[in-house]
């Protein structure tokens, strides 16, 4: 099973996670810029974080045979803190980088006026840089927040196929797929979505424009949820090709729209039934 995790916060994870992910078939990840738990109080601390998403984390990932890309943005929660807003002016410098494959995570947290403005402005940046957008949907008041997000996306003029709305559930998936945007699902212990619910959603809505991620971060989360979802799909009668489509080809197709998803050859990539750890790391030394 080859796996592309389109949303995972590796900065918060250990090297043991990287090893386990590689053994599980994960060969590429996208790490969206997000909040860190502890609120930031100045723009400069974002720049070090962005540098880390472009430098140290891809280097670390490469040591374990995993290709690391990222998305860059001012996250919705910190969009409400005027001390953080100067970050918006520096974003173009980062959106010019090779390993930045989308603007994100953007979206709503508490659906404030400030969040409205920052979301619209960053969708505009995506348009200007020819990049996709990764849009987080709020955990509270999700259905209303998703509707409002779709309105802002429509007004921005960005092509819907360049947008993924993430952390969806049974109540929000329909309107997102109808809009032409991509549907992202975070299979996350206790909250968000479970493997079995995910399989039922795939049965009902099909495999088109659907991405599954672990959204693993500093919370109680599991970086192997992608594989567990793949196994649940197989157990439910989906084919290995269906699993490959959801866990690899779909996220590759989405982020490839950036023109920057420069994936190395995955020589010796795991076969659909290869669960063992994998030697002969084909990623060249360097992890750039």
């Amino acid at each position: 099973m080859r796996i592309f995790d389109p949303h995972i916060h590796m900065t918060s994870r250990t090297t043991d996670d990287y090893e386990a992910m590689h053994a599980a078939g994960v060969r590429a990840v996208v790490e969206p810029a997000f909040w860190l738990g502890q609120p930031r109080t100045s723009p400069e601390t974002f720049y070090d974080y962005f540098d880390s998403l472009l430098g140290w984390e891809p280097y670390r990932a490469a040591q374990f045979g995993i290709q690391h890309f990222c998305t860059i943005a001012l996250n919705p929660k910190e969009a409400n803190d005027p001390r953080c807003l100067p970050v918006l002016d520096e974003l173009p410098r980062y959106l010019a980088k090779d390993r930045v494959v989308a603007v994100g995570e953007i979206g709503y947290d508490s659906m404030t006026k400030e969040e409205d403005e920052v979301l619209a402005r960053q969708l505009q940046l995506a348009v200007e840089h020819g990049l996709p957008a990764l849009v987080h949907t709020p955990h509270r008041d999700k259905a209303a927040g998703t509707r409002r997000t779709l309105d802002v996306v429509r007004e921005s003029g960005i092509a819907p196929e360049l947008v993924v709305l993430d952390h969806l559930n049974e109540l929000t998936v329909g309107m997102v797929l109808d809009s032409g945007c991509w549907a992202g699902f975070s299979v996350y212990p206790k909250t968000k979505m479970s493997e079995d619910r995910m399989v039922r959603i795939l049965r009902e809505h099909g495999l088109d424009r659907v991405m599954v991620n672990s959204a693993a971060d500093w919370g109680s989360s599991d970086p192997l949820k992608t594989r567990k979802t793949g196994l649940a799909m197989l157990a439910d009668g989906f084919t290995a090709d269906d699993v490959d489509r959801v866990l690899w080809r779909n996220p590759v197709a989405f982020y490839d729209q950036s023109g920057r998803l420069d994936l190395d050859d995955t020589d010796g990539e795991p076969k659909p039934d290869d669960t063992s750890s994998f030697e002969g790391n084909s990623i060249r030394r360097g992890g750039e």
Partner: protein, 217 residues
């Protein structure tokens, strides 16, 4: 540095589109140097990253040409190059580090701070790029020795460190000897490539710890 009209890059394997992009970029930088700020990160997307026979990649070679096209001197050059490094991703930073000898032909050492910043980090690809001829020419002896020792720890082959044959000295031999005995005491292997930098000095009797290197024999 003025860009003569003739192609300065005939040997690079570039598509016609990439070559045209590069020619335009060089002209823009020569006339408006701040354009390098957006051109420098975009190199790989326009010119690719194929490996070259000299061990570099195409993007690194092209970035060196962009840097060489900067019509700046002294502090203005130091500032612009420093900012490209500060805001660069690792590929951009490697290109800057490898270009330092050409950017400082008078040998002022004005870019040494970029080398020092890199040596404090943990990315082997950057450390290697920093320990080229520029570091060999300008790093003070104590810093150079620490850098060599760091390479041994990080398992960067010493053959990739510039200037070692000239700059290896008795103190470096002592440090490597101590390192070797620490490794031996821990039952861990000692990298073979440190051997040449132990022997010439331990036989001269200038170190007090020559007896500690038996683990490497």
């Amino acid at each position: 540095m003025p860009n003569s009209g003739t192609a300065p890059h005939p040997s690079l394997p570039l598509t016609p589109e990439a070559r045209a992009w590069l020619d335009t970029a060089l002209t823009e930088i020569a006339t408006a140097p701040t354009t390098i700020r957006t051109l420098f990160p975009a190199v790989r997307r326009h010119c690719g990253r194929a490996p070259l026979p000299d061990g570099r990649t195409v993007d690194e070679a092209v970035r060196a040409l962009l840097l060489a096209a900067l019509p700046l001197r002294d502090q203005a050059l130091t500032d612009e190059v420093g900012a490209l490094h500060r805001y660069g991703d690792p590929a951009e930073q490697r290109a800057v580090l490898r270009a330092l000898p050409r950017l400082d032909p008078e040998g002022t050492g004005r870019f040494l701070d970029l080398v020092r910043q890199t040596l404090r980090g943990n990315d082997n690809t950057l450390i290697e790029a920093a320990l080229g001829p520029y570091a060999a020419a300008h790093l003070p002896a104590d810093e150079y020795r620490q850098a060599v020792l760091k390479c041994v720890f990080c398992e960067i082959p010493l053959a990739r460190v510039a200037g070692l044959d000239d700059r290896a000295d008795a103190e470096l031999a002592r440090m490597l000897g101590d390192f070797a005995s620490e490794r031996t005491a821990a039952g861990r292997p000692v990298p073979e490539d440190i051997a040449p930098f132990l022997h010439p000095f331990t036989t001269s009797g200038t170190t007090t710890s020559g007896t500690t290197i038996h683990g490497t024999e």
